[in-house]
């Protein structure tokens, strides 16, 4: 629920995403996560002019595109009109060394307290799942190898943010501990934050358990705890997630999200 303000909660989340992206990094502009798409492009049009933007299986720079239409499907070739380079999807395994400066967003049917996630399904019998998920796509590999990634969910509830996954399709910090990843020789840094409609979580340094980092404006600690299926670490002081600046809102409205996807309820 956005506060009495001139921006929506999704616009706030997009601004947070933008603040996380450094100039020169490589990012993928997908279709399924409009908030992440908007955040990436917001960074690109402000402090990250050298972003390496992957869009519809091309790599390019969108800095000079006046209005960036949002395509409903990742395969939409109309986004290929800006291409500087086309990549064949099957060379993905060979790009990780060059993706150390890349970041990625990973969702899940379930996400646990240590940042592991599940896209396989819900239910304890793999051959008779109660709810068959779409499949893990590239999350296991990206989560293993990429410099850092962000967990993202639109559903902050106890079913999604859960103490135990039914199936682990992407390794975050396993069963926890500062060496959870290095013990397994995983080259990537793992999840940095988990972004939800209510708050941002980071990971406590020694346990690697999720810790409340900031609450979105108007959200209370109790609300978060009531809707989270695990007990996050809660520091003494929890700041408020900062909202977008007027200039960021202008860019969102005029160039990035002209259809108002982030302004819909």
């Amino acid at each position: 629920m956005p506060p009495d303000n001139d921006y929506t909660n999704k616009e706030l989340m997009a601004a947070f995403v933008a603040s996380e992206i450094a100039d020169g990094e490589a990012v993928s502009v997908g279709a399924s996560l409009p908030v992440c798409r908007a955040g990436i492009l917001l960074a690109h049009l402000t402090h990250a002019p050298n972003l390496k933007v992957q869009i519809s299986f091309t790599i390019t720079n969108l800095r000079n595109v006046e209005v960036l239409p949002a395509f409903e499907f990742i395969t939409d070739w109309r986004a290929g009109r800006w291409a500087e380079f086309l990549y064949n999807h099957d060379i993905g395994p060979d790009l990780y060394k060059r993706r150390r400066q890349a970041i990625f967003f990973i969702g899940g049917l379930q996400i646990d307290a240590y940042g592991n996630s599940n896209l396989i399904g819900i239910g304890s019998d793999f051959h008779h799942l109660k709810m068959r998920g779409p499949g893990g796509v590239g999350t296991a590999s990206m989560g293993t190898n990429i410099g850092r990634y962000y967990l993202y969910t639109n559903a902050h509830n106890k079913q999604t943010l859960t103490e135990r996954l039914d199936w682990r399709s992407c390794f975050g910090f396993g069963d926890g501990g500062a060496d959870a990843r290095t013990r397994l020789h995983l080259p990537g840094g793992g999840p940095r934050y988990c972004i939800t409609p209510l708050c941002i979580f980071d990971f406590e340094e020694t346990s690697k358990r999720m810790r409340l980092k900031s609450l979105h404006p108007g959200v209370t600690l109790e609300q978060v705890l009531d809707h989270t299926g695990f007990k996050p670490v809660v520091p003494d002081h929890v700041p408020t997630t900062p909202g977008p600046t007027p200039e960021q809102l202008r860019l969102l409205h005029e160039r990035i999200d002209t259809d108002g996807v982030l302004r819909r309820p």
Binding site: T75, L86, D90, F126, G135, G138, A140, S141, T144
Partner: protein
């Protein structure tokens, strides 16, 4: 023996579909709502082919879901089956998987490509690190944990994914099997290399001279068969040629979702009857769709 001339590899859709037999391993190219060789997919269903192992795209779309729904699949190998916003999870995939009626080979996108590469390389397996620490190896018997012979680091061996026939859709090919995709062709090359034979449906057949004028554009050389099929990816998009027919895809999703939700086969069977069983070939299918709809799929 030869008549001394270079032979073209253009064949009809029925002949191409006839290559596919019960129990084979086939792959379907493209990605999500784009670039699937639909005349062959529909013919497979019409021919009543069973027990296929289907290697979908890295993100398989509803064409794979349709084959599952029509009862053609025994096993499915794909890191995801989805129609994006039109159906986040394939409804027939859900229905069959949840009942244990298909075998799902659960893997991640890059395990998948390592498996396809192993086949292309005549190797028994290739290793991959992604998936270490997850449940993949517990539920997929084609994955095996082992220690890297050089450093001892824990890795997964991904068994080769060998394909009998790869099915691909592309914008164009010349009569000799030189394929030119618009856009990248997604993972189609990996299917071709892992396959004994490849069939490509194309929106357009182009002259060999046109290929030679733009050889950098050739994405796959020497496929085994080219099937001319304008609008051959409908209801899915073909990059640069036409967009997906979202209304038709929604019609399919509604039919498949009815069975998922209530176990009612009726709507799905009606869909099959109307769009696959009755129209005996691609032209008949397009006739049923109609020019008005087809011409509405603006490419830009």
């Amino acid at each position: 023996m030869t008549d001394g001339k270079r032979k073209d590899v253009i064949i009809g859709e029925d002949e191409a579909a006839g290559w596919i037999r019960d129990g084979m391993v086939i792959s379907i190219g493209g990605f999500l709502n784009s670039s699937h060789p639909m005349p062959i997919i529909r013919a497979i269903i019409r021919n009543g082919i069973k027990n296929l192992t289907i290697v979908g795209a890295a993100s398989a779309g509803l064409e794979t879901d349709l084959l599952i729904g029509a009862g053609c699949a025994k096993t499915v190998i794909a890191p995801m089956i989805s129609g994006e916003s039109l159906a986040p999870i394939g409804p027939s995939f859900r229905y069959f998987a949840q009942r244990g009626a298909i075998e799902v080979v659960e893997l991640d996108e890059h395990m998948y490509y390592q498996g396809l590469r192993a086949a292309a390389e005549l190797m028994p397996s290739l290793p991959w690190r992604g998936g270490i620490g997850t449940d993949y190896a517990k539920i997929n018997p084609r994955l095996k944990e082992f220690d890297d012979p050089v450093t001892g680091e824990r890795l997964l061996a991904v068994a080769a994914i060998n394909i009998d026939i790869a099915l691909i859709h592309a914008a164009a090919a010349d009569p000799f099997g030189n394929v030119q995709h618009i856009g990248t062709g997604f993972g189609d090359r990996a299917h071709h290399r892992a396959a004994d034979r490849t069939i490509v449906t194309v929106d357009k057949v182009i002259a060999n001279e046109e290929v030679r004028a733009n050889p950098y554009r050739t994405s796959i050389a020497g496929v085994d068969a080219v099937v001319r099929a304008p609008y051959g990816s409908h209801p899915f998009a073909s990059p640069g040629e036409y967009l997906e027919d979202a209304a038709h895809i929604r019609e399919y999703v509604a039919a498949a979702s009815a069975r998922l939700k209530s176990g009612d086969n009726g709507p799905f069977d009606e869909y099959l009857q109307k769009y696959i069983v009755e129209p005996k070939n691609h032209a008949a299918y397009l006739t049923r769709i109609g020019f008005e709809r087809i011409l509405s799929l603006y490419e830009l």
